[in-house]
Amino acid sequence: MSENAVIEIRNLTKIYRDFWGRPKVRAVNSLSLDVNKGEVFGLLGPNGSGKTTTIKMLLGLLFPTEGDIRILGKPATDVAKNESIGYLPEESYLYRFLNAEETLDFYGRLFSMSPAERKQRADELIKMVGLDKARRRQLKEYSKGMTRRIGLAQALINNPQLVLLDEPTSGLDPIGTREMKDLILKLKDEGKTVVMCSHLLADVQDVCDRIAILYNGELKQLGMVEELLASQDKTQIVSSTLSDEAIEEIKQVIAKHHGNLQEISSPTTSLEELFLQTVAESQARPGQRFVSESEQKTAESKS
């Protein structure tokens, strides 16, 4: 397992303290998970559930209160690991007095890239994120979405093996969101590992192979997206829009096979359901890992 793992997190706990060292918030609590090479991993959770805190600990920006992290086989505080990491912060924390070209040039220099390499790479990335027209404008004049785009370009300047994206689609327009998702899939095709955190479920569902749902700093769900979403006691048939007679006919077929028709509608985002259910469940029973109904049944039948 650990051969394949790009990120290993063991019993990670983070307690924010105030000036006097008194504990204030337990932002992450005994989190353990692995991210494997080549997958798109989603960290999901409501606001304040500890996603950003986890990412920052992975990068060595915050120090864990307890637990261990290995990222690309190195400790989180090792600077050498950053050679092959790209990070898009929650908000793009960039130098607002630089323009797009200067920004990319600056970060390129931090990777000791040659001037020619920097120029070429910056040019590529600016075109890729669609900022060609604004490349000479200072970032302080950028809109939120444009800042996001330059932030993304900055994260990819070193052609990283592991990309950490904190809320990558926040602030982006629908087209930008679409492009971001396409880009994530493209990164995956190139064999890169992507970790993204988000509370936007549609985004996660579209691109992630595996997800973890955090609530109050605790891991509530972990697994492949399809597995988590597959409902064992339901069958879904999706078709192009049917006429009323056709629907009537299908109803009869279901009745003939002793099926129990529950609903006929246009499909909704089913991840959304899962997410809401998980959150509701966690509120009702804090401190426990959420166990889905099906899992519960199997557990009961075993005992």
Binding site: L59, L61, F63, Y93, L94, R109
Partner: protein, 541 residues
């Protein structure tokens, strides 16, 4: 101002630095170890050594490219944030400065000195606040806006950030000081009246050691005190055997210049003796003095012609290489060669006496010096600028270091206080340490204050016996010694009195101590700044 600073003793300075740095290093390692143990428990000790090792590699293996990138960014930031508006203030100051400074009542060479001081003071007063604020606010803002997050997630060592920031701000400061100093130079040259232009020079003095003979010709501690509270000058009685004797060292024939009157090589001597009259004498005539050259080994004595002593002016005398003098013993005029017959191993003694009966000439060690060929004014001026530049560098180094562990406003106040203390109280601290200030240790002084006893009163018996008080005070004095070395003496960066008074700035006595001071602070500050950035979470809360 005393232009007679002693040349620095580099080995001694280095060993003092080593001692202070070493003790602080050992103390911080000990504190760090204890903290690691207390906070980290079992895992603390390996973490402590890991951090030490990482620190070593991070400090040694800094990449010039990344340091350069951060320095460059810092420069751009300062420029785009309009730090260079300071030039506007400078320009305004100089457009109107001339109005207030030209005072036709005062002597022209004094005016010249006012202009020079004004320019150098203005450059300092403009650049220091800029450097202080830039350096103290740069990193904290970077942390607050979290732009540093994006930087440290690149393969950047924290040492590179500290060094890059320092170099960047130094770059800004260098740019500002450079331009202001050139403008200031041009301004001085244009502002100075034509007839005193020749006084825009940098004199290079060679000072000697001084001892006295009293009126009987016996060796004496000093001359006569004429009632002045300040015992700086000692007075030599006229027409007696009393004299002051300077011994100069390190002279060579290359120190000779061409005397413009005779066109022959000669040694230039300058004095600034002062007169003290016990009677009117000839009312509109100044007092006269006389030099006698003495061979320090053979005691051969060659008296030179008498010279008038104009007070508050430079009294110049040329000592020709081929000396013609009247030998009192042989009663004949003889010729001697200055370097063959009087200078031994570069040493020459010059005695000065007062000629007028009942009058006195006041002399202090720096009052008589041999003047080597003058250097251009620019030499002295730009060395003064270099002093300002170095102080700016030190402010940046200290500011960046402070800003790695406290926020901008706190760092600013901290550094400002440090500068105040380092400028104003350094002398006082040193005087306490050297025992020049009368008083006692901290505790003893406290007890004396409570008992309303002043420092001159004999110690009460109980205090005399109290070993505890003495020992504790010893510790405080030790601490004060440490503190006096950790608080830089900012006064040593000011060379403007040399320049304003037409002297060159001596390398070993003035420039080098400043250079060593900057380097001496730079190294520990870099280490401190690095660790404080490394060991903290870059979360602005």
């Amino acid at each position: 101002m005393n232009f007679d600073a002693k040349p620095m003793n580099i080995p001694e300075a280095l060993s003092t630095w080593g001692l202070v740095f070493g003790s602080i290093l050992v103390a911080s390692l000990a504190i760090g170890f204890i903290l690691a143990l207390v906070l980290g428990g079992k895992r603390g000790i390996p973490r402590f050594f890991e951090n030490l090792g990482e620190g070593l590699t991070d400090l040694i293996r800094m990449s010039p490219k990344r340091v350069g990138a951060i320095a460059n960014l810092t420069l751009k930031e300062a420029i785009r944030r309009k730090a260079l508006l300071v030039f506007v203030v400078f320009a305004v100051l100089f457009m109107f400065g001339g109005w207030f400074l030209s005072n036709t009542n005062s002597r022209e060479e004094l005016q010249l000195s006012v202009y020079v001081s004004f320019v150098l003071t203005s450059i300092g007063w403009l650049i220091f606040p800029v450097a202080l604020i830039l350096a103290c606010w740069g990193l904290p803002e970077d942390i607050r806006l979290r732009s540093l997050h994006t930087v440290v997630t690149k393969p950047v060592r924290r040492s590179e950030i500290v060094l890059g920031r320092i170099l960047g701000f130094v770059g800004v400061g260098t740019f500002v000081v450079g331009i202001m100093s050139v403008l200031g130079y041009v301004w001085i040259i244009r502002q100075v009246p034509e007839n005193v232009k020749s006084r825009l020079i940098a004199r290079v003095p060679v000072y000697g050691s001084l001892d006295f003979r009293d009126r009987q010709g016996e060796e004496a501690e000093s001359g006569v005190n004429t009632g002045d509270i300040n015992p700086y000058r000692s007075y030599i009685e006229g027409a007696s055997k009393a004299r002051a004797k300077w011994t100069f060292d390190g002279l060579s024939p290359s120190d000779l210049q061409i005397d413009p009157e005779t066109g022959k090589p000669a040694l230039l001597v300058e004095n600034s003796f002062q007169a003290f009259r016990t009677h009117k004498g000839v009312i509109d005539e100044v007092l006269h003095g006389q030099y006698t050259l003495v061979n320090p080994e053979t005691d051969l004595r060659v008296s030179l012609p008498q010279f008038p002593v104009y007070e508050f002016r430079q009294n110049l005398a040329w000592i020709p290489e081929e000396l013609e003098y009247y030998n009192e013993e042989t009663q004949q005029t003889e010729t001697r060669n200055l370097f063959d017959d009087l200078v031994v191993d570069g040493k020459l003694a010059v005695e000065a006496r007062c000629v007028d009966v009942g009058q006195f000439l006041g002399m202090a060690r720096p009052d008589l010096f041999i003047r080597l060929p003058d250097r251009p004014f620019a030499s002295s001026y730009f060395k003064s600028v270099f002093g300002i530049w170095m102080m700016m560098v030190l402010i940046v180094v200290l500011g960046v270091t402070a800003s790695t562990f406290v926020k901008g406003p706190v760092a600013t106040i901290l550094l400002f206080t440090l500068i105040l203390v380092g400028t104003g109280f350094n002398q006082f601290m040193n005087d306490i340490l050297s025992g020049e200030v009368r008083g006692a240790g901290l505790i003893e002084s406290g007890i004396r204050i409570l008992n309303h006893g002043n420092p001159i009163v004999e110690k009460p018996d109980s205090l005399e016996e109290s070993v505890a008080v003495q020992n504790v005070d010893q510790v405080f004095t030790g601490l004060l010694w440490g503190i006096s070395h950790v608080i830089p003496n900012f006064n040593i960066f000011s060379f403007k009195a040399y320049t304003a008074n037409g002297f060159d700035v001596p390398m070993m006595a003035a420039v080098m101590p400043a250079v060593f001071m900057v380097l001496g602070f730079f190294i520990p500050c870099l280490i401190l700044g690095y660790y404080s950035l490394k060991l903290r979470e870059l979360e602005a809360k």
